[in-house]
Symmetry: C2
């Protein structure tokens, strides 16, 4: 797993360089067609071309400079041709910074009915209108090209946590074949990341990482985590695997996770993250704080005049919306509840990732991370 | 109906004076505990202590300086004691300008189950938890006092459009008796408005107006409009009735209406309005424009790159969110759809009411209003 092993020269739709290291953690610079981004970075999830409940300027104010949007959903509605005509996802959503898109494979398999995986791709019926569709590697590249994201993801096969060894091998091998088909049919203006599979097997993960490193991807992602495996299994695997992945390319841990998961993974050398947790949990009335998670519907907040967190600089806390008011909005199912909690949570994630970058730059990331993880992992959190 | 007929001296929780007239239309100044407001004014509706989907600063940016909140809903949840403890509705909701509250009677009768009107008040079971409640004039005053609104409304009996003459008389007479009970038990720091009933009968409306004018209310409201009667019936009645209501006090037409309804009523001398239409219609995908209403889900907008309205200065239009994107958000049931359309509609209402004030100041309101109403009443609108 050495970058010198790359046999194929990569194009540079993106370029990446490591600016500083602290242990295995890296401070990096990712140049995209829509801005120069600092890594580690966290991407808020904007499934339907909107980070739910927020405007682009509010997302920007959380510190985020890249969001991830969903190929499956946008393919079915409004359709990639419509998005393309409106100027791609950037023009469509008015988000001016970088955008990544996933491949659509995960949703095609999990949301659609009668889904079936063959060597061609995912055959399924739309969950919206029942129409028959085939999401092949080539189709995923065509759609993502029309969507115009800065970073596209290869179509992959994500095995679940209960898969047998044989199933993991088949998923991994097909992912490699699809990786080659994606590279052959990609939009050459768009960066493309490969996705390392292999479940919880160290042998398969390391074998698959080596296979994908030989391909001219612009970055390498770790897929198939947070799919039901125990947390310590994920952590041990990341500790062994991440430091061995090609140093020259950005490493992206897909769909993970809590602030603690993210800090742990940064310590291993991961550069990019996305997760629905800050936004989805907000809509379920859960606020992240430095001293744990706060479940706003609890009756102890009924007449609590304090903001979610005294020390927080998010608009929700700064403008003085009380826990009592936020509880009332949540109990009344008011849209403003979703807005104010989503703002708070994305600011929390933004602060954690910014602090991580600062601690790497200072060369004391591991010390900070150990303290922070110990704090977060107290029983009350 | 002459202010000299007032036998009882009024307190001044609010004060009101007419600054200019144009025909029967009035430009006025309403001084409240939370600011000096220009009339005519439009109050966005914040039922649950939030104008649905917006933050207080966004509501303020539409030009609104008073909102109306709902006594019934806030009584049942979170309870007026909680709101009081958090600093009243101003501290609770962080809306810094004036607030009116309705009496709660309308919802107690229409939303609650097993509702029954007696001379005591509205006996009903909560639509939330089935608890038995009695909303009497005294209880409505107590609740509104705790909520701390600038302007409270008396508890009234609102007959529906199908009521017989006898039912209208009973509703009206009870409203007068409740008016006296409200005045006797009011929070003396709070302005209190009486509510003129009488359905579509000119005789009853004028009789009731005269009865309530004799009471020391800070303003007089017209209730029981837009409850199912034909629009021309409402208009004829307003044309006869409004100019005869005590000139010295603000006149408030409750729950009305479209921009055309509002301009017509201003021409008769109405000063204050509230209506759910701009906010509720927004959530149903309808945008008000100078050239009619736009139903965003229509397929003709599927790839329309234009903003809702080229000439509009609302954030939705200025930031360039296209009709195509707004349609996509609406079809995907995204919260951002509600936000962006609500912003647009309240800015539209804000512009209409501001223009009305300007035209009164210039002394040419009726000319402008006739042109505007003719435009709005074209068949395509």
């Amino acid at each position: 797993m050495d970058s010198s092993a790359n046999l194929i020269e990569r194009d540079s739709r993106t370029s990446f360089r490591v600016l500083a290291r602290s242990g295995n953690a890296r401070l990096g610079e990712l140049v995209t067609r829509h801005g120069v981004l600092q890594t580690p970075l966290f991407m808020p999830v904007g499934t339907q071309a909107t980070v739910k409940a927020l405007t682009p300027d509010e997302v920007e104010n959380t510190g985020a400079r890249m969001v991830i949007m969903n190929t499956y959903h946008l393919w079915l509605r409004p359709g990639p041709e419509v998005v393309h005509k409106l100027g791609g996802l950037h023009g469509f959503s008015r988000w001016p910074h970088a955008i990544a898109t996933d491949s659509g494979g995960f949703q095609a398999f999990s949301l659609a009915s009668l889904g079936k995986i063959t060597e061609d791709g995912f055959a399924f019926q739309s969950h919206l209108d029942g129409s028959k569709r085939l999401l092949s590697p080539e189709e995923s590249m065509r759609i993502q090209g029309l969507l115009g994201s800065d970073i596209a993801m290869q179509l992959d096969v994500c095995a679940n946590a209960n898969s047998s060894y044989e199933e993991l091998v088949l998923a991994m091998e097909r992912t490699t074949r699809w990786a080659e088909r994606c590279l052959a049919s990609r939009d050459r203006q768009q960066a493309l990341f490969g996705i390392i599979q292999g479940g919880t097997s160290w042998e398969l993960r390391s074998r698959h990482a080596a296979e994908l490193e030989r391909l001219p991807f612009d970055g390498l992602a770790l897929g198939g985590f947070s799919v039901g495996e125990p947390q310590d299994v994920m952590e041990l695997l990341l500790e062994r695997l991440v430091p061995r992945i090609d140093e020259a390319r950005p490493r992206y841990l897909m769909g993970v996770g809590t602030p603690a998961n993210i800090v742990h993974a940064i310590a291993q050398g991961v550069d990019m993250f996305d997760c629905v947790m800050p936004t989805r949990n907000a809509r379920n009335g859960q606020a992240f704080t430095d001293s744990g998670r706060l479940v706003i519907k609890q009756s102890r907040f009924k007449d609590d005049p304090r903001p979610i967190e005294d020390t927080c600089d998010c608009p929700t806390c700064v403008l003085g919306f009380s826990r009592a008011y936020l509880r009332h909005l949540y109990m009344s199912r008011e849209i403003l509840s979703h807005r104010l909690l989503t703002l708070h949570n994305l600011h929390h994630y933004g602060r954690v990732i910014k602090r991580a970058r600062e601690e790497i730059a200072r060369g004391r990331f591991d010390t900070w991370a150990s303290e922070q993880l110990a704090l977060w992992r107290q029983p009350n959190l």
